[in-house]
Symmetry: C2
């Protein structure tokens, strides 16, 4: 049997191929922005969101291709959020994963437009799933997923979290505020892909709700782990400066609850997520592996 790491490498390649297949051609008068869009998506990362989507889709027995446009769409939305987060008027970051950020590489105006173009292209891409759906039930699921994707991306999802984060910057946050930001900024964009995988594969309402709760736990554990790594990791490993939260006087889970409890809660939340996972039908192995990876990761 293949090791998890071999499976992960192979699966990440497959997911990458799916994403690349939906990227636009770099031609015409919009070439610069098309190239900025693709540069940012290709700069890549762990492809965690489409991986979770695909594995949960398969876990629930999904066998169609209508999940693929959504896999590409969720990665485009994630990338859009990074492009705009890095802008000078936001975090003013010049490097990400060791490469110049989009605005550094293509200019401020082009980065705003590339982000705009990418988020809209995500919905254009997701809409392609309608033509791939093979039954009325599947088309209805695609429709529901389009709405869900917008909801979890928008002002009551990721963008809402980012907004609260910007709005409260420089202030000391209380537990409710930090919880709100983590739930929306990180959680929503893990809930969306996992729920979409479940819905497209025909999971029932109760199961979709369990998947949403499980994803929320995973998102929270993921964000706390991020806070931990900002303190314990090194720039070489992380690919970005460490201790940035402290430098920016940012309230984090660690500054609020201490390192010990942070570590304990990452483990607790992951355990909770795996518990929920095991109440669901299908083969849990790969999804459990992805959750484990999130807590043992060092970058």
């Amino acid at each position: 049997m293949m090791s998890f790491n071999d499976w992960l490498a192979k699966s990440t390649d497959e997911v990458n191929d799916v994403i690349m297949g939906f990227l636009p051609a770099e031609e015409g008068y919009q070439k610069t922005v098309l190239s900025a869009m693709n540069y940012s998506v290709r700069a890549g990362g762990k492809r965690l969101r489409p991986l979770f989507m695909r594995e949960i889709y398969r876990m629930f027995g999904g066998m169609g291709r209508e999940v693929e446009p959504f896999m590409a769409a969720i990665e485009m939305i994630h990338t859009f959020s990074l492009i705009h987060d890095d802008l000078p008027c936001m975090d003013n970051d010049e490097y990400r994963r060791g490469m110049p950020t989009t605005w550094k590489a293509y200019g401020y105006d082009m980065a705003v437009l590339a982000g705009d173009a990418l988020v809209v292209y995500a919905f254009e891409t997701a809409a392609k799933a309608f033509a791939m759906a093979e039954s009325d039930a599947c088309r209805a699921a695609v429709a529901r997923c389009m709405g869900l994707l917008a909801e979890k991306t928008g002002i009551y999802g990721m963008i809402g979290g980012q907004t609260a984060d910007v709005e409260l910057t420089g202030r000391k946050l209380d537990e409710a505020q930090l919880d709100f930001i983590y739930r929306l900024k990180t959680g929503a964009l893990l809930e969306a892909p996992m729920m979409i995988g479940a819905i497209l594969a025909g999971a029932d309402e109760e199961q979709v709700k369990t998947v949403e709760k499980m994803a929320a736990c995973v998102g929270r554990a993921f964000q706390i782990q991020d806070d931990i790594l900002d303190i314990t990791s090194s720039q070489e490993v992380l690919g970005k400066p460490v201790l940035s939260d402290e430098k920016n006087h940012k309230t984090t889970y660690v500054s609020l609850y201490g390192m010990e409890q942070a570590r304990r809660d990452v483990a607790g939340l992951s355990g909770e997520a795996v518990g929920m996972l095991k109440s669901l039908p299908g083969n849990h192995e790969t999804v459990e592996g992805l959750i484990d990876m999130l807590i043992t990761r060092e970058k």
Copy 2:
């Protein structure tokens, strides 16, 4: 019988009510951005796009309410584009319709986020039409319109036009370049609402194609009229500085073809659009009135 102007005033109020009904509540930790979103939508304008959508929907016999989320969505997308166009890294405009632009009123970061939130909220809003559709055919039409909305908004539509405009700024444009920018930047966001009105009302393929061509003519006439007004109008009437194109060394239809031909082409394109309109079924009166209004407008 009601005069066109009375009808227009009444209809604009009705359309405004529909749009306002879909705006988000200004509460929670995202309050500032929610308020920035609503400020920008309320700052309003002619509501031309939802008006065209509604009238074409009615012309083709549409009687449902599934058009309403799309009416609100198209206005949100139009507003999103204005918020980001006004940013310092783009046109750097401080006033629009006599009011501070979003970034002047709410800050640079909040304006980026308000635009992002608004464009995503447009898709979230449009997706609400699924629940209002009363037949499989209507749900399929809604699905198609979701994709069309993204396509006409994105990199092959409005954002593509804006991108080419930014990219080619400062250079003297040739006819093909100017045509490309006008077709995408202005045309696409008139084609979308008119086509959506037709599709939702059940127009056939041939008719939808005619509507698209008609909308393209209207968009072109609209943009040329804009160029004319930038020269012939006054700041008091227009609500923004005149002669801005000349000041910015911008190639316009007037600088390329001369004022006389510009005026002739506005009339010609409008005539062409009305000719296509008359080949379609239904009562054309209100759509024709809207087209006429566009060419006789002074702001």
